[in-house]
């Protein structure tokens, strides 16, 4: 679900493989056409989506809000933790590693439920579903962003660090003026990819009924008994926005490549 896979598609299939693949695809399509319940498809009534457009849009708004929170707070914490991970003080580095590994290697769903139900039992602080959702998604985003920012920082050539040290630049100047600007340029494509991942992952927060797009879709379908229409529409909404963001990433990557001197 999270992370960004490489492209494994091969570009040098032979003609024979292509033909075989085409035959297989046509066969599969035929089988599907035969199996599909056309009667059901004919009876679908998508007017329900239009009827409930306002709550759906509101749910989408919450989804985008959660994505933005995960992005902004995640990058903020991620940058701070990535800088701490370069500290010469070992316990600090271990703490960062522990945080990153715990939140990267447990499911968001588990984190969410744990933060919502177990954490209040320890601390006595009760959080609303939305607060728990924001907390979980921010913490996990922070862990992934830490790794991306750390990789970005470590990709800055050693010579830039040495020049900064040799000039006796103050720490703040070294980070903000010498190291982070080129690191950010390296980081932008994976950062945007990650934000798309969290845009999709926010649907998991529906388990706590946080009123984002998925929750809203669920509620409406419970009232209208039209789950197929509604979830199809919601899938389309996720796709359209996700696709727009992916295309934007490609654009950004191209611009960055061009501006590379």
């Amino acid at each position: 679900m999270l992370g960004y896979g490489g492209q494994t598609e091969s570009h040098d299939r032979t003609w024979g493989q292509n033909a075989l693949f085409a035959a297989f695809a046509i066969g599969l399509a035929g089988l599907l056409a035969y199996q599909v319940n056309w009667e059901l498809i004919g009876s679908l009534d998508f007017s329900v989506v239009w009827e409930y457009r306002l709550p759906l849009l509101k749910g989408l708004g919450t989804t985008l809000f959660l994505t933005a929170i995960a992005g902004v707070l995640g990058i903020f914490f991620g940058t701070i933790l990535a800088i701490l991970s370069q500290s010469p003080f070992a316990p600090l580095r271990w703490a960062v590693v522990a945080y990153v590994e715990v939140f990267r290697n447990t499911p968001l769903l588990v984190q969410l439920i744990w933060l919502h139900f177990a954490l209040p039992a320890f601390t006595g602080i009760n959080t609303t579903a939305l607060e728990s959702g924001i907390l979980a998604i921010t913490l996990q985003a922070g862990a992934y962003f830490t790794e991306i920012v750390r990789a970005g920082i470590e990709a800055v050539p050693k010579g830039q660090w040495e020049a900064a040290y040799a000039l006796g630049l103050p720490d703040w100047t070294r980070w903000t003026r010498v190291i982070l600007p080129p690191a950010l340029r390296i980081m932008i494509p994976p950062l945007v990819n990650l934000i798309i991942s969290f845009f999709k992952a926010s649907a998991i927060l529906s388990i706590l009924q946080v009123s984002e797009l998925m929750t809203v879709t669920n509620r409406i379908s419970n009232v209208t008994f039209k789950p197929i229409e509604l979830f199809t529409a919601t899938a389309a909404i996720y796709f359209v926005l996700g696709y727009i963001m992916s295309q934007a990433t490609l654009r950004i990557e191209r611009v960055l490549q061009r501006s590379q001197r």
Binding site: P157, G159, Q160, E162, A163, Y165, A166, L167, G168, L169, P170, T173, R177, V178, P181, P182, R185, R261
Partner: protein
């Protein structure tokens, strides 16, 4: 030829039995040497012999395991603040220039003076223009390093170091990554700096330059200074077997 220049002042660098290790490898072995104000010291020797490591210990870019180094009024090893203060008085020029690639030439020259020395923007800017004129590329002030030739980049790097008005300059193979036709424009700048009385330590493979400009030549190999002699003597009458072997290979 340059022995009697008579401009030597007090000792500004004093290394006492300095040992530097990378793991179990001894990069420097009990190195002791002194440099006086105004001296130009060229450091030559085979690759991997410890020349660059030696130079980099002088501004704390490499820590040392044993011995001590006195540079100006700082005694190394020292704390972070002391080292930072020392670095503001000791300029360094690298083989690969290490200009800040995302900044204009102007920003490269003004960053450290404004943030580390507290100069105003206007003062730093004036200084930048003056230094770029001195290294002969004042018209490139608003370009980015990627738009400049290697020789121009290295001259910017020298100007960047000089913008801190250092008392000592360290050059780590300043011409080694340059195309041959650009070597001289950089050596000319370094030569001019030497003539102005700057204390300099220059790791170099340019023997003609060392012979002409140096007050002393150090031959470093296997982490030790085997020879420390004026250039005429150094190139004319080798005293060490390895020095003779090295010279016969490159001259």
């Amino acid at each position: 030829m340059t022995e009697g220049r008579g401009k030597r002042g007090q000792t500004v660098v004093r290394c006492v039995e300095v040992t530097k290790r990378f793991g179990s490898f001894e990069a420097l072995r009990k190195v002791s040497v002194e440099v006086r104000a105004g001296e130009v010291v060229c450091i030559i020797g085979p690759s991997g012999g410890g020349k660059s490591t030696f130079l980099r210990t002088l501004n704390g870019l490499e820590s040392i395991e044993e011995g001590e180094i006195h540079v100006l009024d700082v005694r190394l090893p020292a704390g972070k603040r002391e080292i930072e203060r020392l670095r503001r008085e000791v300029g360094m020029v690298f083989q690969s220039f290490n200009l800040f690639l995302h900044m204009s030439v102007r920003a490269n020259l003004t960053l450290a003076p404004t943030t580390a020395l507290g100069l105003s923007k206007a003062e730093a800017n004036e200084r930048a223009k003056r230094l770029l004129t001195r290294v002969g590329i004042e018209e490139q002030i608003d370009k980015y390093p990627g738009q400049l030739s290697g020789g121009q980049q290295q001259r910017v790097a020298i100007a960047r170091a000089l913008a801190m008005e250092p008392k000592i300059m360290l050059f780590d193979e300043p011409t080694s990554s340059l195309d041959p036709e650009m070597v001289n424009e950089v050596l000319d700048v370094i030569r001019g700096l030497a003539e102005s009385g700057m204390t300099m330590l220059v790791v170099t493979h340019e023997m003609g330059f060392a012979r002409e400009v140096a007050d002393r030549v150090l031959f470093i190999t296997d982490g030790q200074i085997l020879v420390d002699a004026p250039p005429a003597e150094f190139f004319g009458r080798p005293t060490d077997e390895r020095q003779a072997a090295f010279l016969s290979k490159i001259l």
